[in-house]
């Protein structure tokens, strides 16, 4: 499959009378966005705001971050099976409003986490301090059940992202990159001496408000399967996960999966990017066994010479990670796993809930329990009301000067397990 990605660099987002992209600025007609979102009767109200890099702004509680993209010159659509029609993506041409993002914000459950600081010490821990963010703050209809609210909010985020992404359809990109994958035989013929490298992505599927969707399918109901990496760039995988801020993969993370990017960077030079497997992290132990068996089996069928395995979340997904690692190693395929750690605030506790001797090559996104003080910001988008009950927060964590003390796990993307950031630990 072959995908051309045209990147349109966005340096600023502004409200305006008409929505358009011009000279690197994304102009947004707020009323049009409001109307679009309020089509869903489950949403009572929506506020819009803009957060730019370097501003004294804190956004919380963040649910998802989405990058505006569109398909160009074909009848394919971004977010297939979710918002767009079910048709295989990953071919053709895609335009990206790089440097912009849609941030959805709303307390779906009372203890929800997810902070983005646009400046100050917290900004270094989240990639979304570097994007120009259109923030959507939702108010649900009264008594809307959590799962309905989550769904409404999720879909609204995609709708707005697609609406904005479409503005880039006719714009000439600042740069265009091409990503091409080949079938087994052709790849072998083209690069007979390069190792066949695979990528195993574990998707969060821990139940209500912890789900991941692939072409609209709730991944917890799927067997381990294969996907082409270019499909992922077109929004084939989206996040329905609102908990665990530091190591959840937002939709933006999926669209810009760094393992896919870095494997493509060496594709045809040092390795063949030979395929991608997606598997789940279910709560039922039988599912864990089955899914990891299938991971190993597919690695063997694909005759990978090595795989990178990435995790999402923590706790019992560590068990899935170890099962995947152990079983893939057992079929003779070397692995490197990417995870993060919960080593306690002082870093001395056991980092992972499960370990296996087979996991001898580990990349870590750092210790999510490490504490950070986030100084007061001039402006808060959303609400900090729940900041002491979020997973990375603790009681009495708001200091007299208005700064808050949280564990890194409260910050979106701080210890991302796709290896999105440079954050790590030893």
């Amino acid at each position: 499959m072959k995908l051309e990605v045209g990147y349109i660099d966005i340096k600023d987002v502004q409200f305006s009378d008409t929505s358009k992209v011009a000279a690197g600025v994304l102009y947004v007609e707020a009323e049009a966005v409001r109307k679009l979102v309020l089509e869903d009767a489950r949403i009572a109200d929506i506020q819009l705001d803009i957060a730019r890099p370097g501003e004294s702004v804190r956004i919380a509680p963040v649910k998802d971050v989405i990058e505006p993209r569109c398909k160009v010159g074909s009848d394919l659509e971004i977010f297939p099976g979710m918002l767009g029609k079910v048709k295989t993506v990953g071919n053709g041409r895609t335009h990206v409003l790089r440097g912009s993002a849609v941030v959805t914000c709303g307390a779906i459950v009372g203890f929800q986490e997810g902070i983005i600081d646009m400046s100050g010490p917290g900004a270094a821990y989240t990639p979304f301090s570097e994007t120009n963010n259109l923030v959507l703050i939702f108010t649900p209809k009264k008594d809307l059940p959590q799962h309905e609210y989550e769904q409404a909010l999720r879909m609204a985020g995609f709708k707005v992202a697609v609406y904005l992404g479409d503005l880039g359809r006719e714009v000439t990109p600042d740069c265009v990159e091409t990503y091409e994958t080949y079938g087994m035989l052709k790849a072998k013929e083209m690069y007979p001496d390069l190792p066949r490298v695979g990528y195993v992505q574990m998707l969060q599927t821990q139940g209500l408000l912890h789900d991941t969707y692939v072409y609209g399918v709730d991944m917890k109901n799927s067997l381990t399967t294969m996907i082409n990496p270019t499909e992922v760039m077109d929004g084939a995988i989206v996040s329905g996960n609102c908990v665990s801020a530091c190591d959840k993969n937002t939709t933006y993370h999926h669209q810009n999966n760094p393992v896919i990017k870095d494997l493509f960077a060496k594709h045809g030079k040092e390795l063949i990017f030979a395929g991608m497997i997606i598997t789940n992290e279910n709560v039922f132990l039988m599912d864990k066994e089955r899914s990891s068996d299938w991971t190993a089996k597919l690695c063997a069928i694909m005759e990978f010479d090595g795989v990178v395995i990435t995790q999402e979340g923590f706790g019992n997904p560590d068990t899935d990670l170890m099962m995947n690692c152990k079983k893939v190693e057992a079929v003779g395929v070397p692995t490197v796993i990417v995870t993060d750690e919960y080593a306690g605030r002082d870093g001395t506790s056991q980092s992972l809930a499960d370990v296996d001797i087979a996991a001898n090559a580990v990349v870590t996104g750092g210790n999510a329990n490490e504490v950070i003080t986030l100084p007061k910001m001039d402006k808060v988008i959303g609400s900090l009301a729940e900041v002491d009950v979020i997973a990375g927060g603790f009681e009495n964590n708001t200091l007299a000067d208005g700064s808050i003390v949280v564990e890194l796990q409260a910050i979106i993307g701080a210890t991302n397990e796709l290896g999105f950031s440079r954050h790590s630990a030893r």
Binding site: V109, G110, F111, P145, Q146, H147, Q204, Q206, G207, L208, L209, H210, N241, V243, S244, V283, F284, L285, M286, K288, G313, F314, G315, N316, T319, Y342, G344, S349, A353, D354, V389, A391, F394, E395, Q409
Partner: protein, 113 residues
């Protein structure tokens, strides 16, 4: 029929057709210990004791599905339950008093299918 040990009031009246529900009004830690008793006697865990994406001590509710039959105790299950209990015992976080319905709904969703 599998056994459900739970302290989640939502599970109490509603899952009787799916499980042999053993409800008791105790802490999440006590539910884990109860499950451990079963595992030590050779029952198998059906759901992972840390199911759900919340760190230990964050949710007051815990529901764990266990087989009705007992065989030889399984190492993986013992490790899972012991490790979880150790983490819960280490957690110094006071049990949350707010948002109980949200916690209950999340916990319920893990075992309701």
């Amino acid at each position: 029929m599998n056994i459900l040990v739970t302290n989640n009031p939502l599970c109490k009246g509603r899952l009787g057709n799916l499980y042999d529900v053993r409800f008791s009004e105790v802490s999440a830690l006590e539910i884990l210990k109860c499950a451990r008793g079963f595992v030590h006697l050779g029952h198998s865990l059906i759901t992972h004791p840390t199911a759900g994406g919340l760190p230990p001590g964050h949710s007051p509710y815990k529901s764990i599905v266990i087989t009705a039959e007992a065989t030889t105790p399984n190492l993986a299950f013992i490790n899972a339950i012991e490790h979880t209990i150790a983490q819960y015992e280490k957690s110094t976080r006071p049990e949350p008093k707010e948002h109980l319905e949200d916690f209950a709904a999340l916990d319920f969703a893990l075992v309701c299918k």
